[in-house]
Structure formats: C-alpha cells, structure tokens
C-alpha cells in the first residue's frame, strides 16, 4: 500500500519536474527542474527493486551529467537579455497540447491495458550488479557491444563540430 502511494508521489513529482523544465525561462532553472525529474525517476527504479539502476541514476545522471550541464550553462554566462523573447509561447503550448490529445488518448488506452504488477521487493539479488551484469553480457551482448560504436561516433562528431575553426587543407 505504501509502495503504491510512493509510486504516485514519485510519478507526480517527475512529471512536475518535466513541466518545470520546459516552462522555465532561464536554462539554469530548467536544469534544476530536470534534477527533480531525474531524482524522482531514481525513486521509481528503487520501487522496482532495481538497486544498481537506482544508484547509477543518482550518481551518473543526477550527479555527474547534471553537474556537467550546469557547468556549461554557467560558462555561457546567460544574462536575462540573452534569452529570446518568446512571443505567443502559451498559444503554441496550448496548440501543441490540443494536437497531441489523440496520442494521449491512445496512450491512456494502452496503459490501462497493461497487466498490473505489484511493487514488492524481489529477492535473490535481483537488480544488483551481478545479476544485471549477467543479463547484460549473456543475453544482450550485441546491443551492449554496438553501444561502444555509438559512443565512438558521438565522440568523433563532437570533436568535428566543436573543434578549432581553422580547417586543415
């Protein structure tokens, strides 16, 4: 029972954080709202007994990646004058919301059809480093390996796009 209330609380907070992210004017406020979403998602993972994922979510996403993002925003030193004047923002938002209503209805129908699960703690080391590692390296070896190519491409791409302006030759 408690876990169900916890689920609703975390779910609501994560959606609120996402709303704050897209509605706040200054990027810094947006980034801080995003931390709220990431932390409440970590809470949802813990309800699913995914202890490794819970720790990674907090350390890597809410910790390392968010501090990187915040550092970058600070480097850019954004003043209120730099932020573009978003005219008709609310009209666009309203129009967008109306446009995605059919998709929302579809999603509601889909979610209501999903089987109910209980959120009790699963034993036997479920969700811990060893069991996640076994699944990752046995059943999901191929996706795990090709992610390395994806990361390599991202790295090369970042070097190309952000490298020095003078091109060779």
């Amino acid at each position: 029972m408690l876990s169900q209330w916890l689920f609703y609380a975390f779910a609501t907070v994560s959606v609120l954080g996402a709303l704050g992210l897209i509605l706040s004017r200054h990027p810094m406020n947006g980034a801080l709202w995003f931390v709220v979403t990431l932390v409440s998602l970590a809470g949802l993972y813990s309800l699913l007994s995914a202890s490794l994922l819970f720790a990674l979510q907090l350390i890597v996403y809410a910790g390392a990646i968010m501090s990187l993002i915040i550092f970058i925003i600070m480097f850019l030193n954004i003043q209120p004058a730099d932020i573009p004047d978003e005219k008709g923002k609310w009209a666009y938002l309203l129009g967008g919301c109306l446009a995605v209503i059919p998709i929302g209805l579809l999603l509601l129908k889909i979610v209501s059809s999903l089987p109910e699960g209980d959120v009790d703690i699963v034993g036997n080391g479920f969700g811990q480093v060893k069991s996640v590692g076994l699944v990752l390296f046995r059943d999901w070896l191929l996706p795990f390996e090709i992610v390395s190519i994806l990361l390599l491409v991202a790295l090369v791409g970042a070097v190309v796009l952000a490298g020095k302006k003078e091109m060779t030759q």
Binding site: I110, S113, L142, V156, G157, L161, K165
Partner: protein, 471 residues
C-alpha cells in the same frame, strides 16, 4: 560456424575500416585523397565479400552468442550491397567536392564509414533495441555530416532542425520499444511475429500502439507525408555528397527495417492497410507538389525523394508477406540509388566554389560547354522520371505491376499519374541544359573522381534496366 563469419564479414570490415580512418584522422600529414582512397578500398572489399550468396531464408549468425538478434538473408545481403555501393560512390565524389569547398577533413570519411556500418547493422537487426542503437549510430554520424560546413548558416540551420526533430523521432522509437516490451516482455522480432500471428495485432493495445510509434519514427526518417517537413531544408543545407548519401543509403537502410517490421506477420500490414494507403497517396502528391514549386536543384531533388518514398510504400503495401523476397523493393532502391547518386556526383563536380551553382538557371546551356556531363545528368534525370530504357523505368514498372497483381489498382493508377506529374520538374533541368544559351564557363576543379563516378553510375543505370526481376 565458419560460414557465420563470412556473413558478418562486410559489417566487420566496414566497422574496423571506420575505426582505422578515425585513428588516421589524428595524423596531419595524411591528405584527404588518401583517406578517400582508403574508404573506397574498404567499401570495395566489403562489397566483394558481400557477393557471397546466402539464400532466401533467414540465417542467424552466431545464434548462441548474439541470441538471434542478427539475421541475414539475400534481402539483407542485397540491401547491404546497395548501402556499401552508396558509401563507395559518395567517398569518390566527395573528394572532387572538397577541392572547391574548402572545409573537408579526414573525419568526414570516418564518420561516413561509421554511418555505413550502422546501416548494415540496421538491415540485419532482428531486435528492437539493437535497431534503436544502430539507428542512433547512423543518425548521429549523419547529423555531424549535415553540419560539416560550420561557416555556412544554412548548414547550421539544417543540422539544428534535423537534430531536434530526429531526437524527437528517436524518443518516439524508444517509447514504442517500451510499450512493446510492456506488452510482450520481449523485444525480439520473432516474439512479436509469434504473438501477432497467434492473437492478432489489435487484441493487444500496447503492442499495436508500440509498433505504431516505431512505424512513425521510421516514417520520419524516410520522409513519409506528415513527417516530411524537415527534408527540404536539411537536404538543402547539407554538403552535396552528404545529401546524396542521405537520400540513398539512409533510405535503403530504413526501408529495409520497415520491410522487416511490416512483413513480420501478415496481420501487422493488414491492420494498417488503410493508414498506409492514405499515407502513400499523400506522400506521392505532397512530394510532387513541393518539387514543382522549387527553383533550387537540391531542394527539388529533396522533394522528389519524398515521391520515391511513396513508390517504395506502394511496393511495401503490395508485396505478399508469405513469400517475401523483396526483389521489387530492392530493384527500385538500386535504380533510385544509382540515378540519385549519379546526379549528386555530377553536382559535386559542377556546382563550383562554395556551391555557387544551385538553381535550375545556373545550369543553362551546360550541354554546349560540357556535353558529356549534360548527357550523364540527362540519363539520371530520365531514370528518376521513369522513362525507358533506364533502370528507373523498370523499377516503376515492376512496382506498378506488383500493385496491380496484388489488387491495389488505385495505387497503381496513382503511381502512373504521379510519374507523369514528376516529368515537369525533371524535364525542366534538361530543357535548361539543352535549349538555353550558356553564360557560364562551368569551370571545375579538374578532379577526375566525381566524373568517373558519374560515368560508372550512368552505365549502371542503363545496365540495371536489362536485369530481370521475378515479381
């Protein structure tokens, strides 16, 4: 076991080649020509290995290690051959392009080779998460290639548009995977096919909705009608060889995935037949309408790419799912790729410093100054318009006959109508080249690789039309 490595060898060659090119980019003494020649060599080797026949039924290489997440068949083999050939010709024509557009660097070839390796994975992947990672690999490298010219504002605009919309499409794809997993507890194509052929698609809303989101994301990548709005600006802003690469290799890879997903089980296609029908019709005519209004050659080719996607959708609707060989789709893709790459190779050669020639009028009188170039461009344009004796004509013929035999008479008729409409914008360039006076000298860099590339492709366009296809 010995054969398994041969089936995957092209993928390994291309991936290792990409990593090699990436390492070489660190050396300043290596010239662009060397990197281009090296990537041409890698693609040629992969192409030769890919010639080894596999057979019509799916073979799962290294099934105990990869858990059946990869499957190869003649369909994936030929699709991979088209993709590898696209990479080869793009690498060849890029070197002529960079002579006159001074922003080339060695990473260009590395990123392109990475994109090809992701595309090869895409054609073989039999599992949604693998598809997603391969798709993101391809998309990421193409985002960077689109924005390669950082001094050009149009190019930056293109990469921003493509990146944001593409990330959105990627989000849709990921949500689709989550819903399919929620429905089945599995993301493998085999499990989806088994579930759909057992219970039907629409009995499981999460599965149907998840697959719908996945289809939308793929439709975005191949520019099906409501998801086509980005294509004209992005193709316009990208460097010419990249535009050609996107229009051919990317489209081939995504159409292969679409065929793999749509033809998993007969019920998937049947349930969405109405939606696919209307999307196809709208794609055909929206593409034509946009193309007619363009004055810039690249924008016209981008819009005409939408129309060609429409033809491929007709083929996807009409081919029978139980005995799928995909020969009609692959033939059309090969014909389209040869003519499109040919025209982009010619443009890489002729567009001049900083792509200064881009409109129809800029090519007036080309036939008087450079008769061979004009003849090659004419062959490519006639093939795209679907006029015999070119490969494009045969491709359209096969697709329309398939649609007729499959009972989709309306689609067959609309395909012919759209082909006639498309003459308008293809013939416009031919008229400009042949029936106007030249006021330009069409000076070029003198690099021979793009003209050679165009020459080979012109022969391909004519030779492919003699190649018979079993419908």
């Amino acid at each position: 076991m010995n054969c398994d490595i041969v089936f995957l060898l092209p993928l390994f060659i291309v991936t290792i080649g990409a990593i090699l090119l990436m390492l070489l980019s660190a050396f300043e003494s290596i010239r662009l020509e060397v990197a281009s020649a090296l990537s041409v060599g890698i693609f040629a080797l992969a192409f030769l290995v890919q010639l080894v026949p596999i057979g019509l039924t799916d073979v799962l290489p290294f099934v105990s290690i990869f858990n059946g997440m990869l499957a190869v068949s003649d369909f994936t083999r030929i699709a991979s051959m088209i993709i590898i050939a696209c990479g080869l010709f793009t690498a060849m024509s890029a070197i002529s392009y960079f002579r006159q557009n001074n922003f080339g660097s060695l990473e260009f070839f590395s990123l392109m080779t990475f994109a090809v390796s992701g595309m090869l994975l895409l054609t073989m992947a039999q599992e949604l998460i693998t598809v997603f990672i391969a798709l993101e690999t391809v998309s990421l490298s193409i985002y960077v290639l689109v924005g390669y010219n950082r001094r050009n504002v149009l190019s930056s605009e293109a990469v921003l548009k493509y990146l944001i919309l593409g990330a959105f499409a990627g989000g849709f794809f990921a949500m689709g995977i989550a819903l399919v997993y929620g429905a089945l507890g599995d993301t493998g194509f085999a499990a989806i096919a088994a579930s759909v052929s057992r219970d039907g698609l629409l009995h499981n809303p999460a599965l149907a909705g998840g697959l719908l989101f996945i289809l939308f994301a793929l439709f975005f990548k191949v520019t099906v009608f409501p998801f086509h709005s980005w294509v004209v600006d992005v193709y316009d802003g990208a460097p010419i060889p990249v535009t050609g690469f996107m229009a051919t290799a990317l489209k081939t890879a995504i159409i292969a995935v679409l065929a793999n997903v749509l033809l998993l089980a007969g019920d998937i296609r049947e349930s969405w037949l109405d939606m696919l029908f209307y999307l196809t019709v709208l794609t055909l005519f929206a593409g034509n309408l946009i193309a007619i209004g363009q004055n810039s050659l690249k924008r016209m080719l981008a819009a005409s790419g939408i129309v060609h996607t429409g033809y491929l959708l007709i083929a996807l609707i009409a081919v029978s799912g139980d005995q799928f060989s995909g020969s009609v789709i692959l033939y059309y893709l090969a014909a389209y790729a040869a003519s499109t790459l040919g025209i982009f190779a010619s443009l890489s050669y002729l567009s001049g410093t900083d792509e200064k020639r881009k409109e129809f009028n800029d090519f007036s009188g080309l036939a008087k100054v450079r008769p061979y170039s004009a003849a090659a461009i004419t062959i490519f344009l006639l093939s795209m318009a679907g006029i015999p004796p070119t490969a494009g004509f045969m491709g359209k013929l096969y697709i329309i006959v398939t649609a007729y035999q499959g009972g989709h008479v309306i689609l067959a008729v609309l395909g012919i109508v759209s082909s006639i409409l498309s003459m308008w914008y293809y013939l416009r360039l031919i008229i400009a080249m042949y029936f106007h006076e030249a006021d330009d000298l069409f000076e070029t860099s003198g690099s021979r690789s793009a003209p050679v590339c165009a020459f080979i492709l012109a022969i391909c366009v004519l030779a492919l039309s003699l190649y018979p296809v079993a419908i």
